[in-house]
Symmetry: C2
Subunit: 416 residues, 2 copies
DNA sequence: ACGGAAAGTGAAAACGTGTTCATTCTTCAC
DNA sequence: GTGAAGAATGAACACGTTTTCACTTTCCGT
């Protein structure tokens, strides 16, 4: 067969390849990464030969060369990965022992385990997750459904989520749904084929029938925008795992601050109409304002986006009666509000109108906005979510769990 | 066994469950989704019974109920998914026929295929991708390595990528690497376990040894920031698949525009030091400026981030000599530049200093920035990338492919 | 009607792992 | 030295597909 093999550190061999090219490449590798064993095997000799840089090379050229080879690799070696059988053979143990070596809970003589792991590393072996999933029923994949990865809040949450899951041996499987926050059946069926162990949906208007299609597997599904979790809403005990957010704390701080400045007319530029995040925020704002003797907020309909918040603000002042202060359902919406006020209505923020957002995304501290906002600790939230998921996966029959997170006001330049 | 089963449309049955609860739920489902078959099966009857809402219910309550059941589902039914065997049995065909029914290229009598697909749908069956991957060697997963999902450019690219891959029957498997744009071996080994069919790395400083660990499988790896692809750099023929971007066009337009305003001192606020995107952009700027008789740009070191671009701009004017116009290596960096100029240095943009970015991300049209920028068509780029990947997967031995994309200047408010 | 090509079919063999179960080896107290 | 308990071991099976390989049926032109 037309193969090429190249090893660095210890044994250096070439088969069916041009010797000097191999040595040149080897030398380069040794110079750059001398403590590392590199094994390259199973290519069209002709291709590797014509591609490997000779003489002095820089790193980029070498990467290009290797990448080029990887791309044109021989089909016959596609399954060339080391298998547990090979490791077992080389270590003079049974294949089962190899499996056990990679499972920390299995009992295996420490010396044996060490030997197996060493040989496995030499052969660049890791257990095949597809096979493992097939027999264990665990794919170690977590499906994440999101309407728009670019939305700041979502992207930051996906980022933290991926980090947390990765640390626990899981991987994030990303799916996009329609932008209107609905999750269609087709997508769910599609995703189901990948066997995720759990699903986190950044959408809300989930149809029962859609969810039902998932129910023939024990897949915990987390509809991601949590209940408002205000004390007055809490019930005897949760029916299922739940993540609550206490909007009250942050909202009270914000309203109190605004009252200190003598604000009278407060408007709310909303999020997507029936979404829980929007409902909870608007509701809490209404409750807190009523408690403090303020008239109900003026509602300007929007959908969490910059553009619609911008337009809603124009309407509020041109068609409507305006306001002294504006709450936006999220920070991105608040950016739209601020830009509309400053650049189209020629109003000053915060002198003429004060603005408060929700979320505290990374962009909120940018100087052009410098937004005062109700912070929703993202890292903490993701940690709690991953904790819920893992606990549920490890113990499917445990009683329902509930985690509660608090909010607080971050005061910046758009108030005061 | 302690099971509950509920069907809507046609046959409506309850087993071991409270009849009226079942009927109530059924009625709700029928009212809401009357054209849909809903099959719920395999739960702890006690749990479903205590959870299902009775009488008038709203959608949210019902979702909560179903979700609660999904979470507390019986362990024994975890593998309760329909299998090809069951479909075959019910359709009176062999299991192989079922497999063929789901493979468009396999030959099967149309009537038979139709029957099988109908029954499969009834049973909510889809082929198990883990099993399929095991035997076919194709996981239909594409690994995406990214240092920071939140970065605007990356998040928009991930979004488009996911959409495109989803349409082709693939899914995006997301991994995070370190923020310094390096890709560590550990991550690659970890990812390898998931058997991605291809890997797209949004990182550049890839070590050969790191890549080599992937080379025992035929996995096309795309290091994502492309070569500058300027004509003077192009070679005889590409050694491997490659995506080129012609920065020249957009940069020429930008420099020409600036010259028209009599700009003399041009600065460049850079990206991550040795990254290709940064290198290519700086290089092209240098070349074009030289061609037009301008002095070389003043370099202000940054790393693509808002905060460092902000700081670099302050340095440029406080320690250095300032500039009439500033190119930023990316749009986010340009936002930092603009904010530093306006809010800390009290300079006007564009009157005192003109600013140009690279990328044209969605935020660039926001009124606070309204950035003039060199557009890099994201959708087009992702389409090209997916095209390359699929062609390579379908035909691993095809000659190397090359796609070239152009750029153009989008003129907004930060120049002129 | 006839032959041959093409299409359709199902039994069996992979794919690479985790798990169970009966067996063997080690350890330790007496 | 003995017995028993516990740890360590490997053979065999299971997981749900796709693929290969003979074999049978259908189709079509003469």
């Amino acid at each position: 067969m037309n193969t090429f093999s190249l090893s660095v550190n210890g044994l250096t061999r070439c088969q069916n390849g041009s010797a000097e090219r191999c040595v040149s490449a080897t030398g380069y590798l040794q110079r750059s990464y001398d403590s590392l064993a590199v094994i390259v095997t199973g290519f069209h000799a002709s291709k590797l030969d014509s591609v490997l840089p000779c003489g002095q090379t820089n790193e980029h050229d070498f990467i290009d060369a290797i990448a080029g080879v990887a791309l044109s690799q021989d089909e016959t070696t596609a399954r060339g990965r080391a298998t547990a059988e090979m490791v077992a053979q080389r270590a003079n143990v049974s294949r089962v022992a190899v499996s056990r070596a990679f499972n920390p809970h299995a009992s295996l003589k420490p010396a044996k385990r060490e030997l197996i792991l060493r040989i496995a590393q030499e052969l660049n072996y890791t257990p095949d997750r597809a096979a493992r999933a097939l027999v264990s029923g665990r794919s170690h994949l977590v499906g994440v459904i999101v309407p728009d990865v670019c939305s700041h809040w979502e992207s930051q949450e996906i980022d933290a989520l991926t980090t947390a899951l990765q640390a626990e041996g899981f991987a994030t499987l990303l799916f996009k749904t329609r932008i209107d926050y609905s999750m269609d059946e087709q997508l769910l069926a599609y995703m189901r084929g990948f066997n995720p162990d759990s699903v986190i949906a950044f959408v809300e208007n989930v149809k029962p029938a859609t969810l039902a299609r998932f129910l023939d597997r024990a897949v915990p599904i987390y509809v991601h925008y949590p209940r408002s979790g205000a004390p007055e809403e809490s019930q005897a005990g949760p029916l299922h795992d739940r993540l609550n957010v206490l909007h009250r704390t942050g909202v009270e701080q914000a309203v109190s601050l605004l009252q200190g400045y003598g604000v009278r007319r407060i408007a709310y530029v909303s999020g997507v109409d029936k979404s829980r995040a929007n409902t909870a925020r608007e509701h809490m704002l209404r409750v807190v304002m009523a408690e403090r003797g303020l008239a109900p907020p003026i509602i300007a309909a929007s959908d969490f986006s910059y553009d619609r918040a911008y337009a809603a603000t124009l309407d509020l002042f041109r068609v409507g009666e305006g306001a002294d202060a504006i709450f936006a359902a999220n920070d991105v919406g608040a950016f739209g509000v601020i830009d509309a006020l400053r650049h189209e209505l020629n109003l000053r923020v915060p002198e003429d109108v004060k603005v408060v957002g929700f979320d505290d995304i990374a962009q909120s501290h940018w100087k052009s906005y410098n937004l005062t906002t109700v912070k929703f600790d993202l890292e903490e939230r993701v940690r709690a979510l991953v904790r819920l998921i893992l606990r549920r996966l490890n113990n499917p029959d445990a009683p329902a769990l509930e985690e509660t997170l608090n909010t607080r006001l971050v005061v910046r330049g758009t108030v005061g």
